[in-house]
């Protein structure tokens, strides 16, 4: 009996594990597309620099996105600035990024990153619950099976980045 159950479990795991992977894949594919859209609705202090200069999207302290960002956004550009996806390993590299995807999930860590991003206008994007409420610029959430986002306008203002009112209109909540 135990033997039989084990087999059933293995099969079930294989099947539903597959389904799960599919779902996560898709979630990050979609989030990558959101991120691409965010970039178009945000204005950075001093613009994006010389034409042709890279638009760096950093990934810091999270590996949940895997290859999805690279696959979805690699080779694309924002207003003529080619998108570069970079894995960040140290606080000192944060300022190089226009957007920073972070796994930070505590208020303390997020406020550290907010401080680091202030001069460079780096926009912080995270998946942690209440990410925006804890000070992150844009936090993803899921409602009724669909992706939603919250915006912390206070952080955006402190970073001197301007977020289009159209983007704010689509946000689930705006902290201001």
């Amino acid at each position: 009996m135990t033997f039989r159950l084990t087999r059933v479990w293995i099969i079930a795991l294989l099947l539903f594990g597959g389904a799960r992977a599919y779902a996560v894949d898709r979630e990050h594919q979609l989030k990558a597309a959101f991120i691409f859209n965010f970039a178009k609705f945000i204005e950075w202090p001093g613009g994006l620099g010389d034409s042709g200069s890279p638009f760096v999207i950093g990934v810091y302290g999270t590996d949940t996105y895997g290859q999805e960002l690279e696959q979805a956004l690699g080779g694309k550009n924002i207003d003529g600035h080619p998108i570069i996806i970079e894995e960040i390993h140290a606080d000192s590299s944060v300022h190089r990024c226009r957007l920073l995807i972070t796994g930070a999930n505590t208020e303390e860590r997020i406020s550290q990153l907010v401080r680091l991003s202030k001069t460079s206008g780096t926009v912080l994007i995270g998946d942690a619950p209440d990410f925006a409420r804890m000070g992150g610029t844009v936090g993803f959430g899921i409602s009724s099976g669909k992706i939603r986002f919250d915006v912390n306008l206070l952080t955006a203002r402190a970073d001197s980045v301007a977020i289009s009112s159209r983007l704010l209109g689509l946000a689930r909540s705006v902290i201001r």
């Binding site: 294989l14 389904a19 979805a72 099976g145 669909k146 992706i147 009112s165």
Partner: protein
Amino acid sequence: MKRFYILALSILPVAALGQTEPKQDMTQFGIEDLMKFEVTTASKGAQSLSDVPSAIFVISEDDIRRSGAGNIPEALRLAPGVNVSQIDANKWMVSIRGFNNRFADKLLVLIDGQSVYTPLFSGVYWDAHMLPLNEVDRIEVIRGPGGSLWGANAVNGVINIITKKTSQTVGGAFTSEVGSDTKENVGMRYGGKFSKDAFYRVYANIFASSALDILPGKPGPDDWQSIQTGIRIDKGLDTDHHFMFKTDVQTEHVGQRYTRPTLQAPYSQTLEARYPVSGINSILRWEGTEGGRTHSLQISFTHADRDAAPDLPELRDTIDVDYQTQLKKVGRHALTVGAGYSYSADSTAVGVVNFAPSSYKETLFSAFLRDTVEVARDIKLQIGSKLEHNPFTGWEIQPSAQLLYTPNEQRSYWCSLSRAVRTPSRGDISSEFDAAVIPGNPPTILEFIGNPALASEEVISNEIGTRFTLKDTTFLDFTAFFNEYKKLRSYEPGQPFFDTDHVVVPFFFGNKRSAQTAGFEVALKTRLKPWWSLDASASLFSERMRLSSDSGDNIGLYTSDGRGGASRQQYQVHSKMDLAHGIEFDNSLYYVSALINGVVPAYYKLDSRIGWSPNSNLEFSVGVRNALKPSTLQAGEAAFETAETIPRSIYLKMTLKF
């Protein structure tokens, strides 16, 4: 056990293949569109489970493609609670929750927000809207009164057909279908970019279908050729403002068999007619967001030319202007307000039905207000009303209230109470036609005559529903309703009189019929395996028609609108399998019980399809429609029109994107 193990193992490699479907480039979508995608989907399309306190069902482009439906009325079968019967090669009757006939008049049909029913009889000529199916992004079907938002005629529901944004259709697409029934259906579409945020799309579609057989080997006159072309432009003016323009132009040749009464034996004759129809539909829309407030202004124009039709010849031009704004949320209240204006001018010719006066201009004004109140964190109350002025009955008020309780993201419960009206159509007011001749010496003509004093038909609708998502892969929706209709159209006999060689019994349109309908609808979408989805629904319906005691109507209950062309039970199951090597195997089985008016027996309908995509730009499919029987009768009685049996048909289809 062993057998189970082997079965499971044989499934595994297929399951693994199921997930390696070609990845879509999601970055082509805007945020509004991305927000519609489900992350963990029961169905792949953008199924809207959103917090809507009404019985909404979304038919996605993928649902349509995999159902094998060849046109919009056939695709509408996919929604629960919708009654669809094909009358002949080019005619359908479509309604929601009963009252079905060719001129089903308690339903509002919109294409991109533009109403497409003719005010002449409040019915839709489905043949005149042969939108290629790959133009359609989704079809939203709202069962139940939409009157408080959409206005008169949304008595039993609203069908909103939404076409794709041009940013979704960059590049070219060529589709071709050939088959035993559809002789050819060839379409070409091309979309591109004018500038960074201005996109366009043009399409052309040529379609021809064979006439159905009246008797084996003897085709009728209902063959059908149609050409439809269209253009659409979307332009972002700046990040907060958006502009859209589209025009569809259609010209077709349709045919039909129809019966009209005569004074000589055998007192009725069946005639055949083939005639041209053409139309133009244009929409200009502007949308904007300012400080959390959104507005939209839509101006649309319709030109319809059915002047050569034998039954209801009509030429019509309509202009609609609609403005809507969603105000910034204040406290617990989110207000939406809107106003509309519509002007429609027609000119009719001599046909089976005649109109006095033969041409007419009507103007409608309307305004609506809706307040969404956040009563508690998980309870929302929506109250609102539409106020509309029409030339026949003056002001009409259509209020509604809905309560939505969402204890968590997987579950919601709602209930709704609303009043809606169907205002008299031009035909109700001013038409005249001979319905039948009773043999005798002298013979007697039963003549139906419109009534300028006719009041609006009314419904009070009670609905209750719940939706939930189980384990991220299963979605369930239950809805129950009870509707009470008053002042429905009846046919009241007047004083008979002699006219040279015959007797005329006039029947004037009255408001002396009432009805109660009740029903229950359940829809299920589930992904059994990563490669196998199953959608199913059941719709149960009952109706009771009654004449008020002072009514003299002795024929109304026998007409198609007196005894609805709907059925008590409808069931459907759709199985969609993604097999190895890009092969799809899809089956749709429908059961429709006998129509309540008794003229059509119960039938099953099976549509099967095998699709193959060698790569993401190419797809071949072969399918069969109405597979179970050589031919099936779906509609029994259809105003002025002879229903034909619908044959089994096969088709081959190819789609190439470039």
